[in-house]
């Protein structure tokens, strides 16, 4: 087992990955400050903040030889016997020098800087900088430059070039450039060629200081008022891991959450800025039912009972499980409908698709499938429908006088953006003509909701608990980040109550139950790691075990 020695502590290196000294030290809980290094980008070693003393321990004698010069930890691979010293006077002096240098021409406009509170320049200066400012230099004004998708505060930049490397290496679009030379360098774009690509928002996260600012977030919130919640992006089937930053039930910012199996360090702009629909004014609020005189409000406290009775009266039932439901919600709904009508039809809701998958040179992919959980819902459907996944159109075809009389449609689709209508459009609504019972559970008004007998406003993803399965069969659980607005009862909560289960909706308990019942979800019997769980691997193991037992039998 390879070990490195970080500040006199031995740490074992994981096998099969090549770590540099910054990463190896992090394993030992030692922070080596750095600006330009990022694990997702090429190593340039230019900020010089990560300078440390490096040595080598002789495996035979145990004798340690130190390199005479400071070395950049980012470009030094951690190998067996590597010695890293991060606290020596030499290292501290070097850090203090870099910090002093970086503040020579910095406007130090922290009070009005968006990055304040999560700025490396601030944090490192606090920890490693000098007390006194020795330069008699007039600071710049803080110039702001519009780069296209983001703003650049020119004079706050520390020239780490992370953003430039990102657009060249990961996005492959290469809009950003370094202008001039030496102390005159600035980040810029060529006029007429603004920063404009689907991954551009990542440069703001990458910026270690307040130079690059998100136009969406700028001057909206002080970051220390934000709380971050782990979540999963619902905007396409890739299911990127994200952080939701909220303050008092209002989402302000979505950031990528590192997940080596899914999105690595990035998310696309659709996911980053798509959160606005959570606070869209057009959202459905308040449960209601149709009477002879029109709509009548339905008290959420009575809704479980009323809706259940309506279902029981309706006769042959069908339910449409939307690919926006969590697996737990899909399971509870399918279970409920089947309890009331054991012959009930279960089908998959419309799966929104747009164009082709978009692949970027750095490996990042935006899926053409614009929903988070088709795979998960299909697995639930397959369980209840004996291996069959009824598509939405097929299910609609079975409506009619002889067939289904009562239908529960779940949604969660995007708000209509004229001229594009809601996915549950007029044509679908027309086909529901003549049904005795139509229940619509959705985020936004739609022609289908207009046609319904019951409209039950549903929750946005940030308001739900549960799990999604992405297009790679990776199951990721998340907890709600904010409370839903008044007048909304999350799908899971309603279904939980309709099942007359005790207490509050408990997604983990439902998933546990599913893991017992459904082979596909069997691996979820254990705790779900933050990076999610690969169900495909579990499925493979289960199939192998089955085959083995069959062979034995």
């Amino acid at each position: 087992m390879a070990t490195v020695i970080v500040d006199n502590r031995e740490v074992e290196l994981p096998e099969g990955v090549q770590l540099n000294c910054i990463q190896a030290a992090a394993l030992a809980g030692v922070e080596i400050p750095h600006y330009c290094f990022h694990p997702g980008l090429s190593v340039v070693g230019s900020c010089r903040m990560c300078l440390v003393e490096i040595g080598k321990r002789d495996p035979q004698t145990g004798h340690i030889t130190m390199f005479p010069k400071l070395q950049p930890a980012c470009n030094t691979p951690a190998a067996d016997g590597t010695v890293i010293v991060t606290q020596s006077e030499k290292v501290q002096q070097a850090r203090a020098m870099v910090e002093e240098d970086l503040l020579l021409r910095h406007p130090i406009d922290c009070p009005i800087c968006d990055k304040a509170g999560e700025c490396r320049l601030q944090d490192y200066h606090f920890r490693y900088g000098q007390k006194e400012r020795r330069a008699e230099i007039l600071p710049f004004h803080s110039r702001r430059r519009d780069l296209g998708d983001v703003f650049l505060f020119v004079d706050r930049c520390v020239m780490c070039t992370r953003c430039v490397r990102f657009v060249r290496e990961v996005a492959g679009t290469g809009e950003l450039l370094v202008l001039a030379r030496g102390a005159h360098e600035e980040i810029a774009v060529l006029p007429g060629y603004p920063l404009n690509n689907k991954l551009s928002g990542n440069v703001v996260d990458l910026c270690p200081v307040g130079a690059l600012a998100d136009k969406d977030f700028l001057y909206k919130q002080r970051v220390w008022f934000l709380r971050s919640h782990r979540s999963v992006c619902p905007h396409c089937a890739a299911g990127c891991s994200i952080w939701i930053d909220e303050n008092q039930d209002h989402l302000w910012r979505i950031r990528p959450r590192e997940n080596p199996h899914v999105n690595r360090w990035w998310i696309c702009n659709d996911g980053r800025y798509g959160y606005h629909q959570v606070h869209d004014r057009r959202r459905l609020l308040g449960a209601r039912r149709r009477t002879a005189d029109g709509w009548e409000e339905l008290d959420w406290a009575q809704a479980p009972l009323v809706v259940r009775e309506a279902l029981e009266r309706a006769g042959r039932l069908a339910a449409v499980l939307s690919p926006f439901l969590t697996v737990e919600e899909a399971y509870l709904l399918a279970l409920l409908v089947r309890r009331i009508d054991p012959e009930a039809l279960l089908g998959l809701g419309p799966v929104p698709r747009m164009g082709q998958d978009e692949r970027f040179p750095g490996g990042f992919t935006i899926s053409a499938e614009k929903c988070p959980n088709r795979r998960g819902v299909e697995a639930v459907l397959s369980y209840f429908m004996k291996g069959r996944v009824l598509q939405f159109d097929e299910l609609l075809g079975q409506l009619g006088p002889q067939g289904v009389r009562g239908l529960w449609i779940t949604g969660g689709y995007k708000a209509p953006t004229p001229p594009v209508s809601h996915v549950l459009d007029q044509a679908i609504a027309d086909r529901l003509e003549g049904l005795d019972l139509v229940i619509v559970q959705d985020l936004f008004p739609s022609p289908v909701a207009e046609r319904a007998h019951y409209v039950l406003p549903g929750a946005a993803w940030a308001e739900r608990d549960g799990a999604y399965v992405n297009c790679q069969d990776r199951l990721q659980s998340f907890r709600r980040a904010i409370r839903p607005p008044r007048g909304v009862l999350p799908e899971g909560w309603l279904l939980w109550q309709m099942h007359q289960r005790a207490g509050q909706f408990d997604a983990a308990a439902v998933l546990d139950e599913m893991a017992q019942q459904i082979t596909y979800f069997a691996p979820a019997v254990y705790e779900i790691p933050e990076v999610g769980l690969d169900l495909k691997a579990g499925l493979l193991a289960a199939t192998t075990a089955k085959t083995a037992s069959e062979l034995k039998g």
């Binding site: 679009t173 809009e175 450039l177 202008l179 001039a180 030379r181 060529l190 006029p191 007429g192 060629y193």
Partner: protein, 159 residues
């Protein structure tokens, strides 16, 4: 359709550089020289057209261009570009005074072109002619052991 900055002739010359390098990016620098030579500067439009020709992002070309002190961008340089060396060997033998003198004579600051478009004055860091210090590079001609009198002489001979 706006007229192209890179004429067919320039493009041909640029394309002639392709066999020298395994990548198109490497042609950027020789191409910039060809453009600077032909039209006296490399305006943003030329950057775009070059990038298009080479199949690289325009920002890449601009990035490279702006690093080197050589390429003019805002306006074409004068008929002759005068580089006055002010590094140590020349500076110690009067290079800085010559620069001041030239600024006065021409009425321009370093980096500027005379209003008649004749001369662009530039300062240079060591032009490697320390044996002839103070030296001035006027276009392709090296003027050696300069004095104020010789500057007057030089200015007369320039087109």
């Amino acid at each position: 359709m706006m007229e192209k900055v890179l004429t067919e002739g320039i493009c041909k010359q640029i394309e002639a550089c392709y066999p020298k390098y395994p990548t198109r990016e490497a042609v950027i620098l020789p191409a910039l020289h060809l453009i600077q030579e032909a039209i006296g500067h490399v305006p943003p439009k030329a950057v775009e057209e070059l990038a298009h020709l080479l199949g690289v992002p325009p920002a890449r070309v601009q990035d490279t261009l702006s690093f080197y002190g050589f390429f003019a961008q805002d306006e074409p340089v004068g008929r002759t570009r005068i580089w006055v060396c002010r590094s140590l060997s020349c500076g110690a033998r009067g290079g800085e005074e010559l620069l001041e003198y030239l600024c006065q004579r021409l009425g321009v600051q370093p980096g500027q072109t005379t209003p008649d478009g004749r001369i662009t004055l530039e300062v240079a860091e060591c032009i490697g002619a320390c044996d002839y210090a103070p030296a001035i590079l006027a276009g392709r001609v090296l003027w050696k052991n300069m004095t104020k009198e010789k500057i007057d002489q030089m200015l007369e001979t320039l087109p």
